[in-house]
């Protein structure tokens, strides 16, 4: 028996170092003789580079070099690749322009790096960078998605006419149209999904060095997936053979997707470390992070739903414009297509869904996957629409959801859009959340609030999402340019303690604890005997890293498989020692036992024998006890659930206060309830942040207006009530752990519940629509406009 196995609230092993300031982040790494990089960034959203004069910078004592896009081109190196090929409905490939780490001819967004200065000190690098004179021709820009899709908008790329990278579709349009013809009513909605800035607590950083003797490079970087960085840098960008490039992602302080992708800065540090002959270090300051980290979301959508008067949802038609930014980042084209549109059914049974998505270039920093990546955008649209349908048909919004949702006995359920859901119980999640928030008692609370002059509202959202992008073969057929499996090695040491090597990466999720719990459960030991290693391409055979809530469902499954192999090998060793047939040996509670006897051998004794094989079945087995596994899932996993938010609005100021939140999630098997609570809390905060506070604002000309914490609102702890987090688990049917994933559920499920709550609260005022973020000014103005409209009637 393990006291620290699956399902236990084990305190996080990593927290001692995190909470005492002993974490080892990239910026904590200092190599002997290192120099510092500072980037010269475009202040213009679109500008032709006529020339760069670095003579003054180069004349400074201590400046080791200044490099530009022209130097990169001269070295005949590649660009940062896009990881997914999306095809337009006419069969054409996405327009995929080159993305060189330093823009050689045209800068295409504010913050686009055009040159780098390498100097002995950070201060000198910064000062010298200000001496680099770039001769720009400022050109007109498409600074916003809304502007980029207008007929005469400035073009970001000559090859992308109308700024369209791809015009993609999914779903059976004829079936959708047929269902629309049967409808009693077509309900329409227009929504925007606000663009946000990830704001990981640790800004991006890189330290690269070149060893001329071995002709090899080492790169420390803030990455969610060091192997992917090595693969892309090797195969596409720098053409360094993989065995000559070691990538290490040490402790990483949050990513939310923004640290999946290879970025210019880490490439340039690696490239210049050979040129200047000393290690090169760069750490973003917060202002750089705002303008150079990949942003998230950024959709404009029009949709119609066909319904019967009895509330039956028949079909859904969706047209979305997705902001891609100026270059295609790694998952930029997958996120608004395959990670978005297949979830437009929500949890509802509809005959047909058709979606058309146009990926649009803008003169802004690239947009890519951000916590939830496509699924929040889908959920927001669907759940706003469901409330709108309820309103137009005069049907109770809960009843409407119940009537149309997939029932628990209908799994596996084939949706009209690619996915087959394996399990779930959406109604149980709905009921759990309704009860947790005391939905039945809401009207009394509304009345009480009204007596204080406050408008109280409650909003419901359900969701289903897709995690652990898989299987590799299917994803490859849809355009993925990488595999989607995960690897694990279980190394049992002679005395029975264990080191686990995983290809996933933890940037705060607690893998060192949760993954150890899986092994502890299986081997019947405690987590203190187990160390989890990740993040170093020299230690770990291969891995796809952490994103899309995949680490447990995919990486944990690989660990589970490898541990099973260890147990099997140990069984053979035990059989030999106990003089029994392997078939007669049970493994339980950390002991091998001969069935029906009291002959037992602890796991540690078997491990010892494997390494001191004096009495050992040498004919049959090699010594040692180490096993590896690669796990390629049979399907995505599909977490689902229900989030309910209660708000109070001050009608005099428009301030929206979240007063209660209940979340009931089905995330499959829970390994560590404490970690899972934390993941849900963080996701809810980020989701409510998007709904009420956060917005990356560019003006039409592409200047970033929300480039500091003075004008970009991060949610704060004091903005929230205590969350009511609950679970209703149905185990995933196709992975060994039964786990689905929890990393993103909060940010997926909660935003529409917040806006639905705001609109519920505003009902007495006549306001019927509000966009995210529902800031005080926006809410107040909506109330004034509704008043004026009513007065005019």
């Amino acid at each position: 028996m393990s006291n620290t196995g699956i399902g236990k609230r084990v305190k996080r092993k990593e927290d001692r170092r995190f909470l005492t300031g002993k974490g080892r982040y990239t910026d904590d790494i200092n190599l002997p003789r290192q120099a510092f990089a500072h980037f010269v960034r475009s202040p213009h959203a679109c500008a032709k580079i006529n020339g760069i004069d670095a003579s003054e910078a180069l004349s400074q004592d201590g400046v080791l070099g200044v490099y530009t896009g022209a130097d990169w081109v001269a070295d005949q190196l590649g660009g940062l690749p896009c990881g997914w090929l999306v095809k337009s409905k006419n069969g054409a490939d996405q327009v995929e322009p080159p993305h060189l780490p330093l823009a050689p001819e045209v800068a295409r967004h504010v913050g686009d790096p055009v040159a780098v200065v390498i100097a002995r000190t950070k201060e000198l690098a910064k000062e010298a960078a200000s001496m680099v004179e770039v001769d720009y021709d400022d050109m007109p820009a498409s600074g916003t998605l809304a502007k980029a899709i207008t007929p005469d908008a400035p073009q970001v790329w000559p090859d992308a006419s109308g700024n369209v990278s791809f015009d993609w579709e999914v779903g059976d349009e004829a079936a959708q149209q047929a269902a629309f013809a049967e409808a009693d009513r077509i309900v329409e909605i227009e929504v925007t999904n606000n663009r946000v800035i990830p704001n990981a607590m640790e800004p991006r950083a890189a330290v690269a060095s070149y060893d001329p003797n071995a002709d090899s490079y080492t790169l420390y970087t803030t990455s969610q997936n060091p192997h992917l960085i090595r693969l892309l840098l090797s195969a596409f960008v720098m053409q360094i053979p993989e065995h000559k490039l070691q990538v290490i992602a040490p402790d990483v302080g949050g990513g939310f997707g923004s640290k999946i992708y290879p970025y210019s800065e880490e490439v340039v540090c690696t490239w210049t470390s050979k040129k200047v002959g000393v290690p090169v270090k760069w750490t973003a300051d917060r202002s750089e992070a705002f303008m150079s980290d990949a942003h998230g979301r950024g959709h404009i959508t029009k949709a119609q739903m066909a319904v019967k008067n009895d509330g039956t949802m028949l079909a859904f038609r969706v047209e979305t414009y997705a902001d891609l930014g100026a270059y295609l980042s790694t998952f930029a084209t997958a996120t608004p297509t395959y990670l978005y549109a297949p979830l437009l059914c929500g949890i509802y049974k509809m005959k047909a869904v058709y979606a058309n998505v146009k990926g649009i270039f803008t003169h802004t920093v690239p947009v890519d996957a951000y916590r939830g990546a496509g699924r929040p955008e889908a959920t927001y649209l669907v759940e706003r629409m469901v409330d709108k349908v309820a309103g137009e048909l005069g049907i109770d919004r809960i009843e409407l959801r119940r009537k149309n949702m997939i029932q628990k006995d209908e799994f596996p359920y084939q949706t009209p859009l690619i996915f087959q859901f394996d399990t779930g119980d959406f109604e149980a999640c709905l009921d759990t959340a309704l009860e947790a928030i005391d939905f039945a008692g809401f009207e009394a609370r509304r009345a009480e609030a009204a007596s204080r002059g406050m408008l109280r509202g409650i909003g419901v959202s359900t969701y289903v999402e897709a995690c652990g992008l898989a299987p590799s073969a299917a994803a490859g057929a849809l355009g993925a340019r990488a595999g989607l499996y995960e690897s694990a090695i279980i190394r049992v040491h002679p005395t029975g303690s264990v080191t686990v090597f995983t290809g996933t990466h933890s940037h705060g999720q607690g893998h060192e604890t949760a993954f150890a719990q899986i092994v502890a459960e299986k081997l019947g030991m405690e987590v203190d005997n187990i160390t989890v290693e990740h993040g170093d391409t020299e230690k770990i055979s291969f891995g796809m890293g952490s994103y899309g809530s995949r680490s447990l469902a995919v990486g944990g499954s690989a660990i589970s498989k490898a541990t099973d192999k260890v147990i099997e090998k140990g069984r053979k060793i035990a059989a030999h020692l106990l003089e029994a047939s392997a078939d007669d040996i049970d493994f339980e509670g950390g002991e091998y036992k001969v069935k029906g006897t009291d002959k037992v051998l602890p796991f540690g004794a078997v491990a010892f024998t494997a390494y001191v094989p004096h009495n050992y079945p040498h004919e049959e087995l090699e010594p040692g006890l180490e096993e590896s596994a690669f796990y390629d899932p049979a399907n995505f996993t599909f977490p689902g659930g229900c989030h309910i938010t209660e708000v109070e609005i001050d009608p005099e100021t428009g301030v929206v206060k979240v007063v209660d939140v209940a979340a009931a999630d089905d995330i499959g098997t829970v390994i560590n309830p404490m970690i899972v609570d934390g993941q849900v809390h963080g996701g809810l905060v980020q989701g409510i942040g998007q709904a009420l506070y956060e917005e990356a604002v560019y003006d039409d000309d592409g200047q970033l207006k929300s480039g500091t914490y003075m004008n970009y609102t991060m949610p704060r702890a004091a903005d929230f009530p205590m969350f009511k987090v609950g679970f209703h688990v149905t185990a995933c049917t196709h992975n060994p752990l039964g786990s689905k994933g929890v990393g993103e559920v909060g940010s997926i499920g909660v935003p529409p519940s917040v806006i639905n709550a705001v609109l519920d609260a505003l009902k007495p005022t006549g306001v019927t629509d509000i966009s995210m973020p529902a800031t005080a000014q926006k809410v107040w103005r909506a109330i004034q406009e509704a008043k004026a409209a009513q007065a005019a009637e």
Binding site: E123, T653, K705, S706, Y709, N711, T713
Partner: protein, 264 residues
């Protein structure tokens, strides 16, 4: 950040001398406004003179008809001071609404007043409460002290030692904070001194201003309802993403009423 010489004087005279001796010297108190300015490279002083060692600038004292607060007293100390809470609860409330706990634990009265940020809270309190700024060389009425955007009548080498706040009969503050920065988008401090009322507004415009119509209405009848129908024209008010001029003008009215209600 540029290198600079650092001084840690033990007396006001030494601090002034250090500044006089510097090419381009700056005083440092809680650092909550000055350090960000330094880090962004917006100031590149040759010398930084830390005032933290000046014990004369500490402490909150009851001056009979006023409360004297030392320039180095932090916002958190004002927020929690029994003396302030007893005599001028509105001032304690105001201090408790500055920034966040970290800012309040380091930021000081003197620093806030000297910095004269148009969105800072203290200036409204100083004006409405008819406070006097005391420096190492003179006393300045708050109405003469603030000049405009980050501008005061202080000399380069002049040190604020304390601020004297008359014990107004009633005082209250209504603040509408930026969700991002927590600075005031609109802050209204109201104070009643016998028959005279002052209503001072911060955050809404590039300069603190008083609202005469509100002052007259409240002098005639001290109640939130007295402010009904008094509108502040949006013409000279600030507009930014979070609050445009029309919204700010509306908020001045709402916050003024809330300030009066809070003052009791």
């Amino acid at each position: 950040m540029q290198d600079f010489a650092y001084h840690n004087p033990g007396s006001v005279a030494d601090a002034v001398a250090a500044l006089k001796g510097a090419d381009d010297g700056k005083f440092l108190a809680g650092g909550q406004s000055f350090i960000p300015v330094l880090r962004l490279g917006l100031a590149e002083p040759s010398d930084v003179i830390n005032l933290k060692g000046l014990s004369d600038l500490q402490g909150i004292r009851d001056g009979g008809d006023h409360i004297a607060i030392g320039a180095l007293v932090t916002h958190a100390e004002v927020e929690t001071s029994d003396l302030v809470k007893g005599a001028l609860p509105g001032l304690a409330t105001m201090a408790g609404h500055i920034g966040d706990p970290q800012v309040r634990n380091r930021g000081t009265l003197g620093g806030s007043v000297a910095h004269a940020d148009p969105a800072a809270d203290y200036p409204a309190a100083l004006i409405a409460l008819k406070a006097t700024v005391v420096t190492d060389r003179r006393e300045i009425a708050s109405s003469d002290f603030f000049r405009g955007l980050f501008e005061t009548t202080l000399e380069e080498d002049e040190i604020i030692t304390q601020v004297k706040f008359p014990k107004a009969e009633k005082a209250g503050y209504g603040k509408f904070a930026s969700t991002a920065s927590k600075y005031a988008l609109v802050g209204v401090f109201v104070a009643k001194h016998g028959s005279e009322v002052r209503v001072a507004v911060t955050g809404a415009s590039a300069r603190y201003f008083r609202v005469a119509a509100m002052e007259q209405a409240l002098a005639a009848h001290w109640s939130a309802d007295a402010l009904d129908g008094i509108v502040v024209p949006p013409d000279d008010l600030q507009s930014d993403m979070e609050a445009d001029a029309a919204y700010r003008a509306h908020l001045v009215g709402v916050m003024a009423k809330r300030a009066v209600s809070a003052a009791g």
